[in-house]
């Protein structure tokens, strides 16, 4: 069967300039590493045939799991692929490019307000193009003008959407997690009220402090509930909602971008804001590390960036 198929590929290549380029998309839908390994072993026979070129899309999770596994699996990847192109999260400039492309405003020069709105889309979208486009459409459908000084409205809309989606996306907890989930939902609701009461005149430091203290209050409850018998309770307490809190804190920092409190300082803003995207990147992988990155950002960058 494989031999016949290979012959067919050669015949096709003979007609079409000696190149057959086949892209197998959506392989990234396979989250099971074993399933992907089996699949690669199965199709390895047709890969690398003369005049044929294969492009396979693989999820970042699967790739990272491959690298963490035994050397035999790593060998399978290394022998299967001649090159792996990693598409990382986009930087600030590319994010702005994507927004302008979505609005078909490539040739129009916009002011600082528009750039600020683009920054917000980029931060909330975590540097993922699809998420950036999604947020742009949310603003467009809500009638928010991203061109004229409505960065605060952009921030409020996206931040509230994020908080509300955390409530909507919460699945029914198990019996032993029910209390933690209840506390989490209470925390989100109080954060929603807090954000709704925020205005452009609100101080950046006070907003961030309020949000942080609300989270810490919840974390304190969680800490006492789940570790009341533990004697070595130090620092940040790991729990299942850690990743959501990292996102909430990043959103709080974005308030400074929206209100113009975080301003450019000798071109260092790009590096510092990239740290936020870096923190986002580690949210699904290791939320504790993401939180640590965020703390480092607050210590090193915010002190200089806050006016």
């Amino acid at each position: 069967m494989t031999a016949t198929c290979t012959k067919l590929l050669q015949n096709i290549a003979e007609v079409y300039a000696n190149k057959v380029v086949v892209c197998i998309d959506e392989l990234d839908k396979i989250t099971s590493i074993d399933q992907l390994t089996e699949l690669l072993k199965g199709v390895k026979g047709i890969l690398g045939q003369e005049n044929t070129h294969f492009i396979l899309t693989i999820s970042e999770d699967a790739m990272s799991k491959f690298t963490e596994r035994l050397s035999s699996d790593r060998n399978l990847i290394e022998s299967s692929f001649e090159e792996i192109v990693y598409l990382d999260r986009v930087d600030r400039q590319t994010g702005m490019h994507i927004v302008r492309q979505s609005l078909t405003a490539m040739d129009v020069v916009w002011g600082e307000e528009f750039e600020r709105a683009c920054l917000l889309f980029w931060i909330f979208g975590a540097g993922v193009p699809r998420e950036i486009k999604r947020f742009v459409f949310s603003c467009f459908s809500s009638g928010i003008d991203v061109y004229d000084g409505q960065s605060f409205s952009v921030w409020k809309l996206i931040y509230l959407d994020m908080l509300q989606s955390m409530i909507k996306g919460t699945s029914q907890a198990k019996t032993d997690d029910a209390e933690a989930q209840y506390n989490f939902l209470l925390c989100i609701e109080s954060l929603i009220k807090l954000v709704e009461g925020t205005s452009t005149s609100s101080q950046f430091r006070s907003v961030v402090t309020l949000i942080k203290s609300t989270i810490e209050k919840y974390e304190g409850n969680e800490s006492r509930d789940s570790h009341q018998n533990s004697s070595d309770n130090v620092g940040v307490v790991p729990f299942q909602y850690q990743s959501q809190f990292v996102e909430i804190l990043i959103g709080a920092i974005a308030f400074g971008v929206a209100t113009g409190k975080i301003v450019k300082q000798s071109g260092q803003i790009t590096d510092h804001l990239d740290t936020l995207i870096y923190a986002y990147k580690f949210v699904p992988i290791n939320s504790r590390y993401a939180r640590f990155t965020l703390q480092q950002f607050a210590k090193k960058a915010l002190g200089r960036l806050v006016v």
Binding site: T4, K19, R130
Partner: protein, 371 residues
């Protein structure tokens, strides 16, 4: 009238109303911006993909400069993996390479997956090469193709009707003319013969009268006063009048021998109706001739189309070969899949014999090309 004023004002106002001066209208600051046509689509697209570090160029260069390659694209969901793949495929497509995007395999079991991939490759290949045989598949081309088909049809009907008319007219004219010519000659010969016979009779009678008595020197009328003389005179005068009549008749026959103007009862055959009445099978001949002409025309058109198809096949022999090869390959895959799943157990005899034929085709038709 007062009541109808608003209606009439509305109706006439449409014609009388002046177009407002746009420069005089205050401009909305939002509307006065450059007109934007946003596109918020989240689908993967090669045209809207924004390169980060020339990754599409890198992959394309690798494809251009190597005999084979396997490139993986990894990244977080929504990062643009599919868009990058489409950008690469678009570029390769412009270079004339065979490109195919398989968006979602039907199953992830290795064998099924492999079969699905090759089925898609063969189908796509048939689609691409099939445009040569069946024409373009986009809506515009399809519509234009159908319109062209209608145009060709009515032009063919009009042309064939015209040609048939011409051929029918030419054929009937020729046939009628030749028939008429032949028949007229026969009738003229017959008529000439008849008139000659008649003239010969008249001439012999004139000769007899001339020998019986000299009509050139008749006696004077005063000499014939007795009965015999009167009787003799009476015979002579009768002969003389008969002689005169024969002379007139001779002259008339000689005139008619050279007259074809259609006057006179002997020229009746020159009327077309008379000839048509004398040839009732002429309609049948005309219809038969038309049918033969139509069939000939259809055959000529069919032959011309077959010839153009033949020339197309000759010009694109490899593509056509690939088209049929892929069709055979799909049959082969179907056969393999059926064997794998054992679906043929429940088939009736006729279908089973069909399957055997199909298998035979696979073996005899496909492998000679591949081996």
């Amino acid at each position: 009238m007062q009541r109808f004023w608003p209606i009439s004002a509305f109706a006439f106002g449409r014609f009388l109303r002046k177009k407002p001066d746009e420069s005089a209208v205050p401009q909305d600051p939002v509307l006065s911006r450059p007109r934007l046509h946003p596109d918020f689509s989240l689908r993967a697209s090669g045209t809207t993909y924004i390169e980060r570090s020339q990754e599409a160029v890198r992959v394309t260069t690798r494809i251009d400069n190597s005999s084979s390659s396997v490139v993986g694209i990894a990244g977080v969901r929504g990062a643009g993996k599919s868009s990058l793949a489409k950008r690469v495929l678009d570029t390769c497509d412009q270079k004339g390479y065979f490109t195919l995007l398989i968006p979602s395999p039907t199953g992830y079991e290795p064998r099924e997956f492999l079969i699905a991939i090759f089925q898609r490759i063969a189908e796509h290949c048939i689609d691409r090469t099939g445009t040569l045989i069946k024409g373009e598949e986009n809506l515009n081309a399809l519509g234009l193709g159908k319109a062209g088909e209608l145009r060709r049809r009515y032009l063919a009907i009009a042309l064939s009707s015209f040609i048939l008319m011409l051929l029918g007219a030419a054929y009937s004219g020729y046939y009628y003319g030749s028939y008429l010519d032949r028949a007229v000659k026969e009738r003229i010969a017959e008529r000439t013969q008849r008139l000659n016979d008649e003239l010969a009779g008249v001439n012999s009678e004139i000769t007899a009268l001339q020998s019986k008595r000299s009509l050139t020197n008749p006696k004077p009328a005063a000499q014939g006063k007795d009965t015999d003389a009167r009787g003799t005179d009476s015979d002579e005068s009768r002969d003389a009048s008969r002689y005169q009549e024969l002379l007139r008749r001779q002259e008339d026959i000689q005139f008619r021998l050279n007259d074809y103007s259609g006057r006179g009862p002997e020229n009746d055959f020159l009327r077309p109706e008379a000839w048509y009445e004398s040839a009732p099978w002429y309609d049948f001949v005309l219809i038969l001739g038309s049918i033969i002409c139509t069939i000939s025309l259809i055959l000529i058109i069919f032959i011309l189309r077959q010839r153009s198809r033949y020339l197309l096949f000759r010009r694109n022999s490899k593509l056509i070969g690939l088209y049929y090869l892929c069709q055979d390959f799909l049959e082969f895959i179907k056969y393999q899949t059926t064997l794998g799943t054992g679906k043929e157990l429940g088939l009736t005899y006729s279908l089973f014999s069909g399957k055997l034929t199909s298998t035979n085709n696979c073996q005899t038709g496909l492998f000679p090309y591949l081996d």
